[in-house]
Structures are given as structure tokens and as C-alpha cells.
């Protein structure tokens, strides 16, 4: 029971990383029907920017004002920086090929991913980098038998705040409904006076920014980061997106959380080495029986 609960909390922690990254995939997919392969690299680059901030730029500030300042500055700067990168990538790699159809965009996205990944390698070097220790006091809270670290509390809280904020923007504001309308039917949305370019700008700022913050949190949680880690996280997050039902934002969030929990339960009860196999098997089984994901709408093709 204790193991189960602790693995649940660990699972929710990684799941919230997946969920934050998955939101970016899902938004881009919803509007452009494009698998944004570069998204995992936004995440990695975000993590590296956070690393630079924490190691060099704001070490002094952290020493003076306490760990919270350092963390917040790292998160904000990384989010802003990656939002900018996101827009640049969209402008240079994606916009010129939208019209040509979906498949050229896939190659372009892979090209962008290779480009970003190697940019990170050129700037920060091919070796692993380590986040500074003790950014957050190593406190533990004890609830009965289970214990949870302060860092986990912060990660969970921050992730849920970010997800709730995004959900509110997309579901409750006029601009959010413009995004949803565009995802539903781009041409009709354009006829209704919705500015497609602004929607694109929106999803390519918020998606990468959320990914970048997930990157900083991953850095703080695992401490070790590498320039290739975006592939793995990206793959898991993309899996989460599909698991939840592609283009469905709450689906992507739940998909991420479910994936994280499954992974940790698989690691605890089956085998740590086979946990990813377990995750992919579950995904395949879900899709065999629900071909459009857990929360995806069943669409009958119009004939």
C-alpha cells in the first residue's frame, strides 16, 4: 500500500512533465494537424536555459534572496526564451511548408528537431550537465506512511496551476474559443474573422513555454540533463497526447498523468527495465479498442 501510494505520487510527478509537454503537441496538432517533432527539443533547450540561469546568471541572487527567486527567474526566463524560439521555428521551418500538405511538414519538423538538438550540443556541449543541488530545501512531508518531498509538492502544484491556467484560457476566453474554432475547422474559422496567424502565434508561444518550464522542472527533479533527452520525453509526451485523444487538451493532460503513473507502477510491480515496454503495450491496447484514444471523439467519416 505504501509502495503503491509513493509510486502514485512519483508517477504523478513525471506524469505532470509529460502532461505539460503533451499540451504543446496537442495544441499544434489540433490546429495544424502537424506532429511537431521539434517540441521535445524546445523542452530540452528550456532545461538548458534554466541550467545556465541557475548556474551562472542568478547564483548570486539565489544566495542573497533565497532559492525561490532563483527558481522563479529560471522558469520565467526559460519560458520567455523558448517562446521566442518557438515563434522563430514556426516562421522559418513550418510556415513555408504548410500549404504543401502534411508530409513535407513532417520532414521539416524532423529537420527542425535535428537543427535544435545540434544547436544545443554546439552551445552547451555534448556531455551531461548537472543542475545545482539544494535549490529547494530537501524537506520531506510525512503523511502517515508515505512521504513526499517539498520539490515534488512544488512541481505538482506548479504543473497543476499551469495546466489550469491554460485550460481556462482555452475554454473560457474569447481568444481560446478562436483557437478551438480554428482547430475544429480552419476555413470556417477564417470566414468568421478569426486571424489564423494570431492563433498560430498563440500556440507556438504557449506550447513551447510550457515545454520549457517542464524542462526546468525536470532539471531540478533529476538534476542531470542531456542534449538528447528531448527525444525520449517528446516520445512519451506524444504518446500521452495520443492516449488522451489527439487535439483534445484535457485529454492530453490526463494522458500525461496516466502515462506517468503507469510507468511508475510498471517499474514498481513489473520491472524497471520493462516499464517503457509496458507503457507502449498499454498504449497499443488502448488504441486497438478505442481507435481515437481514451477521450477522443468517435468520428464517423462522412461519405
Amino acid at each position: 500500500m505504501q509502495l503503491l501510494l509513493e509510486q502514485l505520487i512519483n508517477g504523478l510527478t513525471i506524469g505532470s512533465f509529460y502532461a505539460l509537454i503533451a499540451l504543446g503537441y496537442s495544441m499544434v496538432y489540433g490546429v495544424l494537424k502537424l506532429i511537431n517533432f521539434a517540441h521535445g527539443d524546445f523542452f530540452t533547450m528550456g532545461s538548458y536555459i534554466g541550467y545556465t540561469m541557475l548556474v551562472f546568471g542568478i547564483a548570486a541572487a539565489t544566495a542573497q534572496f533565497g532559492p525561490w527567486t532563483g527558481m522563479m527567474v529560471a522558469l520565467v526566463v526559460s519560458a520567455l526564451g523558448i517562446a521566442l524560439v518557438g515563434i522563430l521555428v514556426e516562421r522559418s521551418a513550418y510556415r513555408p511548408v504548410y500549404r504543401a500538405g502534411r508530409l513535407p511538414a513532417v520532414v521539416s519538423a524532423l529537420g527542425a528537431s535535428i537543427f535544435l538538438q545540434n544547436t544545443i550540443m554546439v552551445i552547451w556541449g555534448p556531455r551531461y550537465q548537472a543542475y545545482p543541488a539544494e535549490l529547494i530545501p530537501a524537506m520531506r512531508f510525512q503523511f502517515g506512511q508515505i512521504s513526499i518531498t517539498l520539490l515534488q509538492v512544488i512541481i505538482l502544484a506548479l504543473s497543476f496551476i499551469l495546466m489550469a491556467a491554460l485550460y481556462t484560457i482555452v475554454q473560457k476566453t474569447a481568444f481560446g474559443s478562436a483557437v478551438r474554432a480554428t482547430a475544429h475547422d480552419r476555413n470556417t474559422a477564417a470566414l468568421m474573422g478569426i486571424n489564423f496567424n494570431r492563433v498560430i502565434l498563440f500556440i507556438f508561444t504557449l506550447g513551447p513555454a510550457l515545454g520549457a518550464m517542464a524542462g526546468v522542472m525536470v532539471g531540478m527533479y533529476y538534476r542531470q540533463i542531456s542534449f538528447t533527452m528531448g527525444w525520449n520525453y517528446g516520445l512519451k509526451a506524444f504518446t500521452a497526447t495520443i492516449l488522451g485523444g489527439i487535439g483534445n487538451l484535457p485529454g492530453a493532460m490526463f494522458g500525461g498523468l496516466i502515462l506517468g503513473v503507469l510507468e511508475m507502477l510498471g517499474a514498481a510491480y513489473i520491472s524497471a527495465a520493462w516499464k517503457d515496454v509496458f507503457v507502449f503495450l498499454i498504449l497499443i491496447l488502448v488504441l486497438i479498442f478505442r481507435p481515437t484514444g481514451l477521450f477522443g471523439e468517435k468520428t464517423a467519416e462522412k461519405v
Binding site: 517533432f37 535544435l116 520493462w274
Partner: protein, 334 residues
Amino acid sequence: MGNGKSAGLSKLFTTTPWYVPVLFSALVVIYPFFATDYFIDIAFFFGIYALLGLSLNIVLGEVGLFDLGHAGFYAIGAYVTAILNTRYQIPILALLPVSALAAGLFAYLVCSPIIHLKGDYLCIVTIGMGEIVRLALINNPFDLTGGPNGVFGVDFPKLSPNLVIDSSIEYYFLVWAVVGLSILGLISLQHSRIGRAWNCIREDTVAAGATGINVRHYKLLAFVLGAGLAGVAGNIYASKLMCVSPESFTFWESCLMFCIVLIGGMGSIPGVLIGAAFISLFPEIFRPFAMYRMLVFGSVMIVMMMVRPGGFWPRKRGGVAFRSLLEDTGNGNA
């Protein structure tokens, strides 16, 4: 139309000027006599990527199924060869068809339950399948795959006890002979009811069904054939490197194959050769740029899709192997 020969293979080349395949074949034959072993090896890997590209082209190019886990089939072929050869000393060439069958059978079993999935859902399932294969190889089930280190000591292919393929140039000719035969077979398929059925499914799956094509059957057939050919590539690769390890069969490798098909042009055989040349030769040519070469590689991929979104050598359709129609109706009236 009694003159059977003219309906045969020679006529199927009519989309491309006749001298293109002739010149290319001549170049392939002459090249190794003027190149150093290092450059012959590069051309060997060009051949391997051409085979992989041809194999994925069946699934992605001809049928339009997004398969981003093709490295899994490649891995099955390579590991079947490596394991059976190192454990039971079965000759490599005898394992060539075995690898193809094993990969094809694996594709059949794995794809049967998922073949109804659409577009990106199928895509993620193939990614998952590829990852499961790779992770399974790393985890060394039943002590078969040697874990992260892989399997060592794969033999050379022997045509006879004295005729052993063990030099760069011999491997080069082995892989390009297989590429050549595969191309002939695939061109035949393109101009058969099977090739047309595949293309119909790619163009409009619902209409294909309503025109009498068994969509499920032909999708599965494409996966099985594509996997089989990837298995062949795996066999040759395993014996050339003399060892196999999971890191050769990553998701990245599947992405490269995907790019080969799209850079060349969906369903285009000359396109696959161009795509494979790009993927295998570019990093070599730009080796002097050291750590910047992959930056350039990524950018070039983007620029290519801007300049030629349909690929560098899209498949041309047209008068292909058909008789001139007007002439024919004339005959009918006479």
C-alpha cells in the same frame, strides 16, 4: 498484343528515359574499381539505406501508411541473422530468406490487430512497436540478444567454401545486387493489380474499398513485404558489421527512413535512391564541418521541403506501360 516480351519489364521503364537506369547501373558497377575501401564502405551504406528506403516506400510511399517504427523490422532481420548464425552456425546467405520471413511474420502478427487505425494513430503505434523491439533487445530476454552490447562474431556470407564475401568491394556488390533485384521486383509490382490497389488505398481508402479492393488485406501485405525487405537489409548489415546492437535500431533510424522516402518522393523508386544518397552521403561529405554538420543537415531538410515539397523525383504517371489508346481502338474497328 501477342508479343509478350514488350509487356514485360523493359517497357515498365518508360516513365524515366532509358539511359538513366543504364547509366546509374554502369556507375554502380564501375565505381568500386576507382574508389578506396573507405569510399566503397560509404557506398555500401548508401546501398543499405536504399534497401531500407525501398522497404519503407512500400508501406509509406505506395500505401500512404505512416510507419515510424520501421527500424523494428530491420532489427528483427539483423538479430535473427546474428543469433542463428552465432549459436547454430547457420550460413549467412541461408539466413537471408529466414530473416525476411521472420521480419515479415513479425509484421503480420503485430500489424493485424492495429491495421484499422487511421493516420497518426497508426503512426504512434508503429513508433511504440519499434520502441518495444529496441527495449526488448536491450533487456536481453532469455539471454538471446546480449543486452545493450548486442551479439558479436557474426560470420561472413559464403557463396561456396572458397568464395567468401569478406572484403569491402564484395559486400558492396552483394548489397547492390540485392538493391537491383529488389528494384526490378518493385517496379513489376508497381505495374500490377497489387501496386494499383496500394495506390488506390493511399489516394482514397473509402473509394478503394468501394471499388472492390480488400483494404485490410493490401495494407497488411504492404507491411509484410516492407518488413521482409527491411529484414533482408538487417541480414546484410549484421554480417558486414559482424555484430549487432540495439543502438543501431533507434527511433532516429526510423525517422531517417521516413525522410528518405519523403525527400525522394512518395512511391518513387528513383526518389528513394536520391533520398538514400542524401541521408548516407551528406554526413560524410560534410564531415570536415565536424560538429556543425548536423546543424546543416537539419537546415537542408527544411529547405528541401520548401523547394520541392513533393520530393526530388516524384513518381511520374502517364503513358507508362500502356499502349497508345487511339491506335488501339483503331485496331479494334479494323
